[in-house]
């Protein structure tokens, strides 16, 4: 509840003190921030009768309304406000910024406010998209930049880092804490972000971050996506992750228009754990259990529908009218989930994902080299398996047996490129170069030291409950190590001289390059165990395999074009 309720509190405080009719003006980023946490009907209750994107070309003067701006303090937004203030459209201007304003920006605004319409200027640190109670994303544009070396494009990398640092700072300001910061040793970008964050929190804005708390400070751990490249490459079998992998979730919204004909009110649906009780209890369930639960829900609904059908007395009628809104809500919900699951099972059927996923899981977890090689070759020969699945299988194989058997990997490359023309040559090699065994810090396959090997073997002996969900993201291990205080200082060093005293109670893990819903699930399950540490997961975007491959391609394209130029 932490992140979502923090954003909700900010919005409440923004709106409650201003009486009368209001207009809320948002920029393209704060729209996401507000809409995942707040709903239109709640806004109406707060007498916000119009929500506008800034930059839309409306000139209508509405002097009977008060304007509430909630914007990021970017240069464009400040310029926009300057033009607005020069010829005001609204009666009053209440300016809220989602992050730290610098002095010159305030000066510019003050300079343009000749008619004194600005009533207040505030910083409300809701600068992150809180999609779940313990999962936030920053929706950074051009997310591929983190893979590029610094020299390639210094200015956009700087932008990227600024964006991420601002987001992290806002999260900690919303939590009212100043963390100690650790980062993953082998990643340059993680190190840079960690250091810039520390610089902001301990030097530039030290007054703002000084909350005078005696408790143990929380921990911020900055890790790199490339430390665990397998999680975003796997097919997912738990509800939320699966929807994102197969259809795509954007700010808790699912767009179903792309897949076939669907009735008009179901083209776009909301999947929010805050508003949808069924989704909340099933978002981490695997596909089989989900089917059972949906069946139960449909049965329940049928019962209700039946009881609504026999209306005989006036009392029945009155009862029906009383229950009607509830009934309609239930109906919408049932049809939403049924549509989604039907669509997903269709896709699973079409792409033979059951089979593909089994091999994927084998590659990620057990790794019998001979058997998996055979399986991957078979899939490559099979025309009905889609190209993207083949590419992912080869990538997984290459990551697993990078050092053991380069020859076989070469064979697979050739097969892959002969199979489809769309495959950009060298993408797998690029992935190996980016996220190969030499670049990684964490023990991704659990085969580096004896303890991990032993643990793996023990798990193998115990047997696996579900073949499709046996993979545990590396993050799970990291969290376990953190809880036991075993995360090694050499691999995850501290920034500056702010060391951890005792066990932290709050840990924010930020994944540069994006999180996955599988990891969000691991975090949520970990938090449910009441280990005394509360984990919050954040990333620059929320990845699925499509998005991850797109980022890879984009980065590869830039690297290649720049090396050609040299």
């Amino acid at each position: 509840m932490v992140l979502v309720s923090a954003v909700r509190d900010y919005i409440n405080r923004m709106l409650q003190d201003i009486s009368g009719m209001k207009v809320l003006l948002l920029d393209s980023y704060t729209v996401s921030v507000v809409s995942v946490a707040y709903s239109q009907s709640e806004l109406l209750q707060k007498e916000v009768f119009l929500v506008e994107l800034i930059g839309s070309k409306s000139k209508e003067s509405m002097s009977h309304l008060k304007a509430v701006f909630f914007l990021r303090p970017t240069t464009e937004n400040i310029q926009y406000l300057r033009r607005q203030l020069a010829s005001p459209r609204f009666a009053e201007y209440h300016l809220f910024f989602s992050n730290i304003l610098n002095d010159t920006q305030i000066h510019i605004l003050a300079d343009s406010d000749e008619q004194e319409v600005v009533k207040q200027v505030q910083e409300f640190y809701a600068d992150f998209v809180a999609i779940d109670p313990y999962h936030f994303t920053l929706n950074v544009q051009s997310n591929h930049i983190y893979m590029l070396p610094v020299v390639m494009d210094p200015s956009s990398l700087q932008n990227y880092c600024d964006c991420v640092v601002d987001g992290i700072a806002a999260v900690f300001l919303a939590l009212k804490r100043r963390p100690v910061i650790r980062y993953q040793r082998t990643s340059d970008v993680a190190k840079r972000i960690a250091q810039e964050t520390a610089n902001l929190m301990y030097q530039k804005e030290t007054g703002l971050f000084d909350f005078r708390r005696a408790e143990i400070s929380p921990l911020l751990l900055v890790v790199d996506r490339r430390d665990d490249p397998i999680t975003p490459l796997l097919n997912q079998w738990t509800y939320q992750a699966m929807v994102h992998e197969l259809i795509g979730i954007q700010d808790n919204k699912v767009d179903l228009r792309s897949i076939g004909k669907i009735s008009k009110d179901q083209q776009e649906v909301v999947l929010s754990s805050e508003q949808d009780v069924f989704f909340k209890s099933n978002m981490y369930e695997n596909f089989g259990d989900l089917g059972m639960n949906i069946k139960r829900m449909v049965d329940e609904f049928q019962q209700v529908a039946k009881s609504n059908q026999n209306i005989q007395t006036i009392e029945d009628m009155a009862k029906f009218v009383d229950n009607y809104p509830e009934y309609r809500k239930m109906q919408g919900n049932v049809s939403k989930h049924v549509t989604m699951v039907t669509e997903m099972s269709k896709i699973v059927e079409e792409r033979k994902l059951m089979l593909v996923s089994q091999t994927e899981q084998d590659l990620a977890c057990n790794g019998g080299q001979v058997a998996t090689f055979e399986a991957v070759t078979n899939f490559l020969n099979d025309e009905s398996v889609s190209d993207i699945d083949c590419l992912r299988l080869v990538m997984l194989y290459a990551l697993r047996f990078e050092k053991e058997n380069p020859l076989q990997i070469m064979q697979l490359f050739n097969k892959l490129s002969s199979r489809s023309s769309k495959y950009k040559p060298g993408l797998v090699q690029f992935l190996l170069k980016q996220a190969g065994v030499d670049k990684r810090t964490g023990d991704l396959y659990g085969n580096r030291d004896l303890l991990n090997i032993a643990r793996n073997m023990a798990r193998g002996l115990k047997g696996i409950e579900n073949v499709y969900t046996q993979h545990q993201p590396l993050l799970f291990q990291t969290m376990e190590n953190l809880t036991k205080g075993r995360l090694r200082d050499v691999d995850y060093p501290f920034v500056g001289n702010h060391f951890q005293q005792g066990r932290p109670q709050d840990v924010v893990i930020f994944v540069v390059g994006g999180t996955t819903y599988e990891e969000a699930r691991a975090v949520a399950l970990q938090n449910a165990t009441n280990s005394g540490i509360r984990f919050i997961l954040g990333g620059s975007v929320v990845l699925n395999s499509k998005r991850f491959l797109k980022d890879l391609e984009e980065a590869q394209r830039i690297v290649r074009s720049s090396t050609n130029a040299i």
Binding site: S61, I100, E114, F124, L173, E268, I314
Partner: protein, 325 residues
Amino acid sequence: MATRNRTPLFRKHRDALKNVRVPTISSSSHSSSGSSVGMAIELPNNSILHSNRSYVPLSTEDPGSSRGAATVGLPPAWVDVSEEITENMQRARTKMAELVKAHAKALMPSFGDGKEDQRMIEDLTQEITDLLKRSEKKLMKLSASGPSKDSNVRKNVQRSLATDLQSLSMELRKKQSAYLKRLRQQKEGQDGVDLEMNLNDKFKPKVEDDDFMDMGFNEHQMAKVKKNEAFTVEREREIAQVVESVNELAQIMKDLSVLVIDQGTIVDRIDYNIQNVAATVEEGYKQLQKAERTQRKGGMVMCATVLVIMCFIMLVLLILKEIFL
């Protein structure tokens, strides 16, 4: 949940700049705009019947007018309508509180016949239903057409008021049906008691004196039965009345449900609404362009054809004139 208020700093900068700017702009304009703003702030506090919900016009004087612009910031007429509705609803709310008290009183056992209570309840219910119905009619008037931002605001105001109205009528209905239920229970209980009494009355004569056995009820009993009947009829009428008003409210609910947003659906998403607005505005613009094009094209073509035809006719006339004259 940390926040930082930058208003003082902003004010400082602004005041500093104002002092610099004073020589160029006449200082009177500043003071006048300042005072109008001050008025606008005070206005909502004293002129409203209801404190939590106020749709009072903010300021009748636009700060821009001091610069000589012609625009006066009077709110559009629909603001008054929305105000009336909120006022009505507020009245309905206070009436509701009275109604609850009256219900409680009517249900209490008393020695009088409770006629006054009944009448009061009837009157109150009637009044509230009236108020709600009137509000609903006004609400329908609020709707506007056209893709402009103002109509959007109106739609949203309408929605919000509809949600309020719905919850209000829902509350009223719940109260009424609860009252109805208790009333029925009481009635049943009373009938039961009466029946027993009658039976007892009947029994007693049987035992005491057999002579009266076939005479049925005695006069005293008859009077009692009659009184009971009258009472029952009265109660029946009351129940019918309450049912009627319940039905009326159901109608209102039905009309409102079109306007009210279901929570948790895509319609309730802020970004969806923004996109929708943008899309409709764009669509409207496109349609307008298309219409303009076709209109212009149609008019031009028509004009040209008419002219050509006229030319021909004139030419023929000219030739004919040349030949025959």
